[in-house]
Each structure stands twice: as structure tokens, then as C-alpha cells.
């Protein structure tokens, strides 16, 4: 691989270098997407901007209101091992442990996972149900879009020239919320999801069913996807056979999977419905049990 490397100490410096060379400069943290891409000749950056020396990117901070701020460069394995993630953001903790393998997770990050914007990115469905925001720093300053507005298509995001992700903000989850992440793949480690679903549920007296849910799916559309129609149905009534069928139908109608070497679209569509119902059942069991 043939490129120059810059190793800035601050976000501002990184942004400046990236903005000076639009198209020719690329950020790197773990390299698990970028180095592989460059080695395969899929991109040829002239300059690689190493973000690993920027202190700000490896901070994890309480936001004071029950939310959490996750630096874009904290290794996924470090995040997965943090007790506050397991306690308050269980769906995300489960999803991080489903990424690749232990040595891969010690060298890869949320910033990289989101910026790559694979429809199968494991961090995306839990971050969608947690209604995370993405803080972006660029030549024009900082902005903070919702993750739901961040993905534009497969491998396409709202990141403009010179922009990097600095942190991911998790707002406080609804009181009593429990979450889960189910990844369906051919093997348990080192494999991308064929279909994945994250669910977050919490007691809500105003919902006819007594429980409100958020659902999101991965690997079944050009971008990771919230499933609002299924969420409505779950809030509207008791989870009987009729509701289950309606939820399944709503999920199947929302997803737009592709056929590829790993699975057929029809299979992915059915599995999305199945996983959504399994995730809901799992959350309901933990809500009844009162423990995460």
C-alpha cells in the first residue's frame, strides 16, 4: 500500500488535513474496512489520516441526564465491556459483541462502522432504536444529525468533504426500557448479518398494549431501517396470534432485501419478520422478569 500518513492530535487538525485534499485523503481508525479496501485496490488514497492519536475521540462520558456520549474512536471491545452499556443500553452491548472477533473488535470503532455505512453494520439497528445522534466535525464547525438521517444508501452517508464523526450520543432510554439485538448469520463469529433486528421495549400506560416498542432491522434494505408500522401495531393491542401476524406482515412490507451470494431476498424478508417477533418476545420476557 502506497500512501502518506498524517497523525494529528486534534479533531480540528484532522478536519483541516482532510478538507484540504477532498477525495485524496481518507480517515482511518482500526483499518478493518479501510485497509482492506485499499489493499483490494477499491480505493487509492494519497493521504491517510490516522485518528488514533486524538484524545477526544476515545472519551466515554455521562451526559448527566442518564444519556451517554461515546467517542467515535473507542474500540468496540472496550465499549462492549463497559458496565453502563450492559445496564442501560443492552441492545448495543449485545450488538458490539456480535461484531467480527475479539482481536477485530480491539481494533475497530463505532466511527468506522457508521462511516462505512454497510447495510449490515451491527451497531446501526441498536443505535436506531436508542435514537442516537451522530456528532460530526467539519470545516463548517460541528453538527449533530439523528442517526436516522445519517445513512443515505449503501456506503453513503451525510458526511461531507473534511467531515469526521467525533461522537455518538445516546439519549437516556425511556424508564424501565430493555433491549436486545438478534443477528442471524451463517456462523457465530466473523460473519456479516444476513438479517439483524434490534428491539427496545418499555412499560407505557398510554399504550393500549401497556408496552411500547422500537424496532430496527439491518441487512434488509439499502440502509439500516426503523420499523415504525410494526411499532404501532405492537403498541395498539395485546400480543395475540393476530397481532403477531400483523407485525410479521408489517416488517415484511417495510424491508427491501436483495438477493446475493449469502441469501435470497425472499429468505431475508421472512427471517426479518421471524427475528422481529423473537426480539419482541425476548424483550417482553426481560420486562416481566424485571432484569436486563
Amino acid at each position: 500500500m502506497d500512501f502518506l500518513i498524517e497523525q494529528p492530535d486534534t479533531v480540528e487538525e484532522a478536519v483541516r488535513i482532510l478538507a484540504e485534499r477532498p477525495g485524496a485523503a481518507r480517515a482511518v481508525w482500526g483499518g478493518s474496512d479501510l485497509v482492506v479496501e485499499v489493499r483490494d485496490g477499491l480505493s487509492r488514497p494519497e493521504v491517510v489520516v490516522d485518528l488514533t492519536r486524538i484524545r477526544e475521540l476515545v472519551e466515554v462520558r455521562e451526559t448527566g441526564d442518564g444519556g451517554l456520549s461515546l467517542g467515535a474512536g473507542v474500540p468496540l471491545e472496550h465499549l462492549a465491556r463497559r458496565p453502563e452499556l450492559a445496564e442501560r443500553f443492552g441492545a448495543l452491548a449485545e450488538a458490539l459483541r456480535a461484531v467480527g472477533s475479539v482481536p477485530l473488535r480491539f481494533g475497530s470503532t463505532l466511527g468506522g462502522n457508521l462511516a462505512t455505512a454497510s447495510p449490515a453494520a451491527d451497531s446501526a439497528p441498536p443505535l436506531l432504536v436508542l435514537e442516537a445522534e451522530v456528532e460530526i466535525a467539519g470545516p463548517g464547525g460541528r453538527r449533530r444529525p439523528a442517526l436516522a438521517d445519517f445513512f443515505q444508501g449503501p456506503r453513503r452517508t451525510v458526511l461531507g468533504p473534511g467531515e469526521i464523526i467525533t461522537r455518538i450520543l445516546l439519549p437516556p432510554p425511556p424508564p424501565g426500557a430493555r433491549g436486545t439485538y438478534l443477528k442471524f448469520a451463517r456462523r457465530r463469529a466473523l460473519d456479516l448479518a444476513l438479517v439483524s433486528v434490534a428491539a427496545l421495549g418499555w412499560p407505557d400506560a398510554e399504550a393500549a398494549s401497556g408496552v411500547r416498542f422500537r424496532l430496527a432491522a439491518g441487512a434488509v434494505a439499502p440502509t439500516p431501517l426503523r420499523l415504525p408500522a410494526a411499532e404501532e401495531i405492537l403498541a395498539a393491542g395485546r400480543l395475540d396470534e393476530e397481532t403477531r401476524t400483523a407485525v410479521r406482515r408489517a416488517v415484511e412490507a417495510a424491508v427491501r432485501p436483495i438477493d446475493d451470494v449469502r441469501a435470497a431476498a425472499t429468505y431475508r424478508r421472512e427471517m426479518a419478520g421471524t427475528l422481529a417477533l423473537r426480539a419482541v418476545d425476548r424483550v417482553l420476557r426481560t420486562l416481566e422478569g424485571g432484569v436486563a
Binding site: 500500500m1 502506497d2 500512501f3 502518506l4 500518513i5 497523525q7 482511518v28 482500526g30 483499518g31 478493518s32 485497509v35 482492506v36 489493499r39 491517510v48 490516522d50 488514533t52 474500540p75 471491545e77 467480527g100 472477533s101 475479539v102 482481536p103 477485530l104 480491539f106 481494533g107 457465530r188 463469529a189 466473523l190
Partner: protein, 157 residues
């Protein structure tokens, strides 16, 4: 154009000139001649290139050498101490956990990192800790057996 960098490899401070695009794996094998770390897939998939950076297992084929400047890197060459094999190496020998041996350096470093953080892992935890290291020969059972044996302290030196 090469860039100077220092890093500590197996306890020894090394100062070398590296190409900016060189991976840690290339520098270990080609510049430092530490060929115990293997290049399997060069894509992060097989774990043959696993080394420890500040005690954490990392895939050296997708890590740029300059990213570990100033850090502590441990490779398979540093696992044995004063000529005596590490208890994991003893256990691998006794349990028949290595056949061709190509995956073994990476597996041993992943296992060493696992035991450092979790001295008495369950079988499931061992499998999970080693899931990033593929072995084409042993079928994995003997590897897991050997890590469990080492964790029980058998073959301690």
C-alpha cells in the same frame, strides 16, 4: 519516503524506518525478521497475524505500523521466558493442539490475552475468545482443551 518510528517489541526498544503504508505485520516479518507472526489472509479474517498491542490482541495485517509508534507489541517470539515455554505452549504440546502450526502463534496470543483478563474462563468463553483464529487442521477441540488445561494450571513453569 520512509518515516522513523520507535516501538517496544517483546520488551526491546526498536527504532526503525518504515514506509507510511506498511502494516505492522510487514514490519514485524520483513524489517524485524520476526517471522513467527503469520500472514494468512491479509484481510482480518483468519487471525494468523494476531499480536498483542499494549496487552490487547490486534490483527497486525490491518493495523498500520505507524499507528503503534511508542506502543508495546508482543509477538509469539516473546511468549516463552528464559528458554522455558509458556504454560499455554506446554499445554498445546501435551494436548496435541498444534498440527501444521500455522495458526498456532495467533491462537496462543489470543489465548494469552484471554487468560490475562479472565484466568478461569468457561469453555464457552474460551471458544468466544478464540473465535477470530481459524485453524484448518485440529478441528479446534484440542485447542480449547489445551487452553482449559493451561487455565487449570497444568504444565505450569
Amino acid at each position: 519516503m520512509k518515516v522513523m518510528m520507535s516501538l517496544t517489541v517483546n520488551g526491546k526498544l526498536e527504532t526503525i524506518a518504515v514506509r507510511p503504508g506498511a502494516t505492522l505485520l510487514e514490519v514485524l516479518r520483513e524489517d524485524l525478521r520476526l517471522t513467527g507472526t503469520k500472514r494468512g489472509c491479509d484481510h482480518g479474517d483468519c487471525g494468523a497475524c494476531t499480536v498483542l498491542v499494549d496487552g490487547e490482541p490486534r490483527l497486525s495485517c490491518i493495523t498500520l505500523a505507524l499507528q503503534v509508534r511508542g506502543r508495546r507489541v508482543d509477538t509469539i517470539e516473546g511468549l516463552a521466558r528464559e528458554g522455558y515455554p509458556h504454560r499455554l505452549q506446554e499445554a498445546f504440546d501435551r494436548e496435541g493442539a498444534a498440527q501444521c502450526g500455522f495458526c498456532t502463534p495467533g491462537v496462543l496470543l489470543s489465548a494469552a490475552a484471554l487468560l490475562a483478563g479472565n484466568p478461569h474462563p468457561t469453555r464457552e468463553e474460551v471458544r468466544d475468545g478464540l473465535a477470530g483464529n481459524l485453524c484448518r487442521c485440529t478441528g479446534f477441540q484440542k485447542i480449547v482443551d489445551a487452553v482449559e488445561a493451561a487455565a487449570r494450571g497444568e504444565g505450569d513453569r
